[in-house]
Subunit: 277 residues, 6 copies
């Protein structure tokens, strides 16, 4: 079962959707491994048409490649498989669009993309800074993922929005190294102006949303942004020169109502419409 | 067990509450058949008094007639029973107030009311346009209900608020045929001015509310209105010449916390107070 | 297992956290007895550092004394044990910080504190007025707790915010007796000015929050305040001369997603940071 | 809404069903207060006819009196109301059939019945001995209820089956005082022979069933009896000279599947058929 | 996503699996529409190999044709689509294996099969007799499905096992018309002897299983058969001349643990292995 | 919070309970990381006394060392920490009793114990053979754990009971290498006779129980053993020369009723009583 509307064949499509069902470094509540399957199934409850953008999913341009088969346990093998897959997609001149899994999967994609685009910039929407150097003794973790991305991009290339949790060292680290907006998405317009033309990767940890709307996630943090705020931000930034994107940290077992999955589906539909325009 | 405060006898009451536990055309997640029972039970957690309207439920004026016994399967028999019941209530000079069930039950009531009030106008609060001509090959469905009502009322009589989902054809259809406000409830004041004096039916698909507050529904759509917005709108419009009303699409099994049912109960209490004033 | 960061020893700590797992007068949905244990366990998903206050939990000053062993059934024995425990804490020059349990546990603490501070003022955040004289024939109940506190403090000493439910008699009673703000937290600044210097007890029934964010509670009332509003209010008022505080009415079994518990944990962290500054 | 088939009027009925929604001494997981309402609602999923007994519910003989309004908090007021109600039923020559609630409600009924039948014998099906003298300092508790009944009936009058949990003192107490069968229902035939003719009260704590079949209860104890074993036992013993009966300790919130409620309904149907024969 | 191991192509396969996600006549708890999708997804938690039969799924012989697109509402259109699909499968000399949906879907398959095999016999495993002539006024319903099949096959052709619920009229009807075994599966051996050689359809309403093991179903009936009993029966009967089979009445939303779906998957695996041997 | 009754200090205790909250190789449904905490909390719902063994928990002999802090991700660091901890316990002449976590944690303990007892024998209760050489490319996994133990103990030292799932290669591997009893626990008596005097490790994957009683596990397999069967087996084998034991694969998030956790607690209580006798 594809994500709704993503039934283009690989060759003719411009965007390649794929799942990365890995959650083995989740420290609090695992379950994001089940997100790609749940998102595909429930996407069929969506309309193809968006009244927000007055446009439907550009069907012929979207290919759903299914899920990668990622081993459980330590992350390096999984990250390697994600990197390899993205390399292929990029080589074919297409845009990889990844459905996590936990947020660490972003590192696999960024490793691939930064090889092609050495001046890659990253737009990061998240409740958590994810800038730790190590977490529970591990350097590869959902809590260190943006620090590892920073190792690849260097200073001034990562723009973080909505951050409302982290230890003190993360906030100190971000000074002069990343652009970080706490709590909300203000200042995004100015950042967008500065990113015109450069290659941009967009990574969305869905826990940037308020847990009232998105309870089905591993580490809920009250005080998040609204659906409308996130939607508005995404439909803007995806008109930049976006070379890859991901959506992560939906954990379906923690929301029996299914609303968190429905929200994720709608965010993804809007992203695909904006990217495909 | 009555809805709280609705223990007037039929003869002396002005408003007749009844349940229409039918959900057989629900295409995504059924369960609204359980709504009337859940609403009655949990209504006892409410106070009779509303600090919003500084007024209590007008007990002697409210009769709870219980649930209709509606057959499962195809909708015509159920719609017929709803229509017949409403005819009786109208004949007795009373106002029918229906608890769905899925939104299709509205058609049964409107069929009855439009016979008595040929210039009926409909105020429609919903996340979905419900204007399809057919859905999965069926002309009677929760996704076609307002189109069928349109068949009865004709152009310019239906006013839709909060609409944020539909296929493109529905939005095109609404042009010059219904008054449709997307996403929110703005413009309601102007509409109310134009409706002064004419008979109005008010139909509320509770999924017009944001799913953060109302996850227990069949087709949750992020980006909805807040409780305060809906409450404020309803307490206004129910002072028009309202001749019937309904509340639909609560699906209790999808919200184990019970909050969706509590929200429905509170909306209904406020509606009954406003109608009874 | 302590609440995270509360591992100071009793003697050197200034604030003494303790649980009061009692919920036997809950009339609608019990379960707040499980709150202290759930709060302690899930608090380990929090960071010690708050980006809101740019400060971490003051570890050496916080002692977690565990839960009182409270008998089930009638409330007097439980209230007596709470009162005794608070007397000890106060005698040792420390501040009691209680985790309920239902809201009635507040009375045990207030009985103790008013003995030491005869001019005690109470700041009360709640969806419900809790000013009934009797409820179901009982004078000791979650629905009468602020009335019983009023019996101890007298007129003009109780300040209520966020109130959006009660029977008519409660709202009438509050006139000229308590300062009550309906629906939201406006006017808190003026109240704070008037409370400078006097001893203040802060009691938070978490159902003051909107149930979208906090579904896991016994009597959810739509139309509540947001997390940011409550957080902002609390970090202000806790800089008054606060001599005791409590947080009540989390009912973990009614929120399978765990988000309600996560919200409670974050509120408590912010309160402890503000109190400890 | 009545329990299915219990729509006889009071005067002509021989058996009076009523609910006792009290659970305030539950020490582990409350929720049995919701049992009578859930049982009535879900009873409508039953057939009136039992293929086990080849007989249908004797409709005209069964009256459902609804629920008593029992105050929360300490148990004495609730027990008093139960006792009073049962006195009335007995005075009218009818048989009281109580739906708990927690098991303590049995004491209210037994207090009434022992006044009329001084040589009352009690058949008790339960996972727990319930023979403590005090529990958490309280002499009235779900864990002391059979001890309190023993205080009323004296030695040799209580017959316990299925018992598989208790503290050591309870098992010692039972020696020479009650007839206790551990783990299963063996020996019931012999007990029945000895009870021919004497007035018997039958009290069923549904946790005597294995929690695989009955997870929705406050204190699940693995190793219980099967549905068939319990059914077979009950349809036998209810042909004795039964003068009252109860069923307790269903806690619907702890079984989201609804199967525990369905089991309770079926047990009650079979009991009513057997009693009415 | 196929059912695990069913990746043969249509032409070379002997058995054609397909889903019939229809549940619109479910009178108590709908949700079986979600069964085929849940079964396919969770089937990947199974091994291909069965230690019970010491044999693996005969992969090349099994084709999964996905789900039929069935309209919601009245059943005739859905039954027609099922009948048509089965006709095609039969015409191609293959065996249809249907995943319901509610039990009524059986009628669509039987209508097709009885055209090809006029002396069709039906083996029916169920908790419910399903022999009503009408149910809530409808002649097509999950509660009438075997009666409608009887209309097609005539007397002496339907063999029912495990029946433990129905109204009295159903049990009377079955006398001299169907072979009915109440409560358990005894006598199956003798029936099998009598069916040697004749064409047999096997229809399994999974609620024949005890609800302790299979709570996720619309109408749970305590006192059912065990997994081992059902497994043993099925691996026997499927060695008869079976010309079609179905499995129905899993309702995944009512078992949050997922065990009911896991049981269904395992039953289906064992059936496919037995059929394919 | 200790497991109930395990409040002996380390030095004087003979048995050391500890938690290993690791589940990162779980391939189907994670969550066993939450088991040790849930088991400790809910153990307080148990009695200290067992009517099965007519003996209470030997309190002074039992020490609860809390949980190891195990990193997420790849298993070797976690296994190393478990091995180190067990080495210390063994060096001090005590018996390690581990609460998983997933079943792979057993390997850490067995690595330690086999160093001290080179002729170690293992009694293994499980639904799954766990004898794969690799699973999803990994040699360390919950599905390979007994194969890795076999690497350490060699042929003829592992005795497996209740096995009802695995791929064909696992069953072939077991021939002449392990003693495997499929489906049930028969033959345990004979095995026990052969193990008299030799050092024995007992490892219990709780999914050996039927999922009707134990739904809260990662890979439920219908057709398991009953509580009574397992209890009877364990109270027997723990009278052998047991030098270590573990209980694994409870996944609390998958059983909202809490019964699975209650079953695990009761099994552990009975094991500790039997070991301590």
């Amino acid at each position: 079962m594809n994500f709704i509307g993503c039934d283009g064949d690989y060759d003719s499509s411009r965007i390649v959707l794929f799942g990365a069902p890995y959650d083995c470094t989740s420290s609090f509540r695992p379950g994001s491994r089940f997100a790609p399957a749940a998102i595909r199934t429930d996407s069929w409850g969506l309309e193809l048409y968006s009244p927000y953008q007055n446009r439907a999913l550009p069907k012929a341009l979207l290919h759903d490649a299914g899920d990668l088969e990622l081993p459980f346990g330590g992350p390096e093998p999984a990250l390697g498989l994600i990197e390899d897959f993205c390399m292929g997609v990029l080589r074919d001149g297409k845009l990889p669009f990844m459905l996590g899994g936990e947020h660490l999967v972003t590192l696999g994609a960024v490793r691939a993309i930064v090889k092609k685009y050495s001046n890659l910039h990253i737009l990061h929407f998240d409740a958590h800074a994810d800038l730790r150097d190590k977490y529970l003794g591990q350097s590869l973790s959902h809590a260190t993922v943006m620090r590892r991305c920073f190792d690849l991009t260097g200073t001034g290339r990562i723009f973080q929005f909505g951050i409302r949790s982290g230890d003190e060292s993360e906030f100190l680290f971000s000074q002069n190294r990343t652009v970080m907006r706490r709590f909300d998405l203000m200042g995004l317009g100015a950042v967008m102006s500065s990113l015109r033309g450069v290659p941009v990767y967009v990574t969305i940890d869905l826990d940037v949303l308020d847990p009232s709307l998105f309870p089905g996630t591993g580490a809920p943090e009250a005080g998040g942004v609204s659906f409308t705020e996130l939607l508005s931000a995404l439909t803007s930034v995806l008109r930049l020169n976006v070379v890859g994107a991901d959506v992560s940290e939906l954990s379906p077992p923690y929301d029996q109502s299914g609303c968190s999955t429905a929200v994720a589906c709608k965010i993804i539909r809007e992203m695909l419409i904006a990217l495909g325009s």
